[in-house]
């Protein structure tokens, strides 16, 4: 090789290296990779929140149905008077219907006539979500067992799977059964199943569920079960609580103080 050419290449190489070094010194930021942090908070973290409810039946006034009235108005739940076509999200059940496996043979008079509010338990292991063939029912990132009515084909497998009877089927068009329409939530149509959604549309706006707000006795506590500092966790630690049919292993998120 030509001596001059070799000399040139050597010097050019050194110069290039020096140039790169200088560039690195001038701009200490990493040139190749930059993490765009703005994408991080968009999606919620799975399992960080698990919404739960604690119903203190000692504060639940007898004969009061304000929770279900508020819920059913908020979510455009139809009223077809009678059990045949009944659609319900939250309703009152007699004690022995709500807790049929609690093993009380000789109940007190109080327990005999006690009615407890019952609703979807938003199980951590929801049998309805497992039964649904179209994934219309699914467990959300925050523990809510949610429904996408668009996908529901009305097969009612979920109704058979739910051990709590928390699901209702629209045998007919629900709109004639709704007296006043609430603009905050859509109605359903004939042929779909529906149930309590833990007011996920209100939680997004930072509001408490409609039943919690409507309760005159402040009997319903709502909060994050995964947060040890939450009110509901404090109550769970302090009080003796029950779940509905705990032996089934569905791990309900709704607790009761009797």
């Amino acid at each position: 090789m030509n001596q001059q050419r070799r000399e040139f290449l050597r010097k050019a190489g050194f110069a290039a290296l020096a140039g790169l070094g200088a560039a690195a010194g001038l701009n200490p930021l990493h040139a190749l990779e930059k993490t765009d942090t703005s994408v991080f908070p968009r999606k919620p973290v799975e399992g960080k929140v698990r919404w739960g409810m604690l119903i203190d039946t000692r504060n639940c006034p007898e004969g009061c149905t304000k929770c279900s009235a508020a819920c059913h108005f908020e979510h455009n739940v139809p009223d077809f008077s009678g059990t045949k076509n009944e659609v319900k999200w939250i309703w009152k059940s007699p004690y022995e219907k709500a807790f049929p496996t609690s093993g009380m043979q000789f109940k007190s008079d109080e327990l005999e006539k006690l009615e407890v509010p019952t609703l979807c338990n938003h199980c951590a292991e929801p049998p309805c979500a497992k039964a649904c063939p179209t994934e219309a029912t699914f467990k959300r990132w925050d523990g809510i067992v949610s429904m996408d009515y668009h996908r529901c084909i009305g097969c009612r497998f979920c109704m058979a799977a739910c051990p709590y009877g928390s699901r209702s089927f629209n045998w007919q068009d629900p709109r004639p059964g709704i007296e006043i329409f609430s603009a905050s939530y859509p109605t359903r149509e004939r042929g779909v199943v529906e149930k309590c959604n833990f007011c996920s549309e209100r939680l997004v706006k930072g509001m408490l569920p409609a039943c919690v707000e409507a309760c005159p006795g402040k009997a319903i506590t709502f909060g994050n079960l995964n947060d040890p500092a939450s009110d509901i966790r404090a109550l769970l630690a302090r009080e003796e609580t029950m779940q509905r049919k705990p032996e089934l292993g569905t791990l309900p998120s709704v607790f009761y103080i009797i």
């Binding site: 001059q4 040139f8 140039g19 790169l20 990132w141």
Partner: protein, 127 residues
């Protein structure tokens, strides 16, 4: 010899410049969109160009539903940094000045979407 040194200096300068420009571009791309509070009805232009929305609003709504219902990703950000809630109500709010906005076009195209079987249509909501 002098020519060679000059040449190498030029190359080094070019390299320096190239790296500098590259870095500048990188940091430019990384600047976050100056997003203010969700624009919604204050915004005068749609989430996508008009022509795209004409042909693809159903896909947009389908995607929005999936994102908000299943992923919990409720905010749509346009390339110019405006933010919208991924909800049918966002569309209806913006286009509320013309109550027939949906119906006119659907009637013209002779399509019968089932949205209003459940969602309250602009004709049913009194505002």
């Amino acid at each position: 010899m002098r020519k060679n040194i000059l040449m190498s200096a030029w190359i080094a300068l070019a390299l320096l410049l190239a790296v500098g420009i590259f870095m500048q571009q990188e940091s430019g791309a990384g600047t976050e969109p100056s997003a203010t509070a969700s624009g919604k009805s204050e915004s005068t232009s749609c989430v996508y160009p008009k022509e795209f929305m004409k042909s693809h609003h159903m896909q947009v709504l389908d995607e929005w539903r999936h994102d908000s219902v299943r992923e919990g990703d409720r905010i749509h950000v346009t390339p110019d940094g405006r933010e919208f809630e991924k909800s049918l109500n966002t569309c209806l709010d913006c286009h509320s000045r013309n109550k027939m906005f949906c119906f006119m076009c659907h009637q013209y195209a002779n399509v019968k979407p089932t949205c209003w079987n459940c969602h309250l249509s602009p004709m049913e909501v009194t505002k």
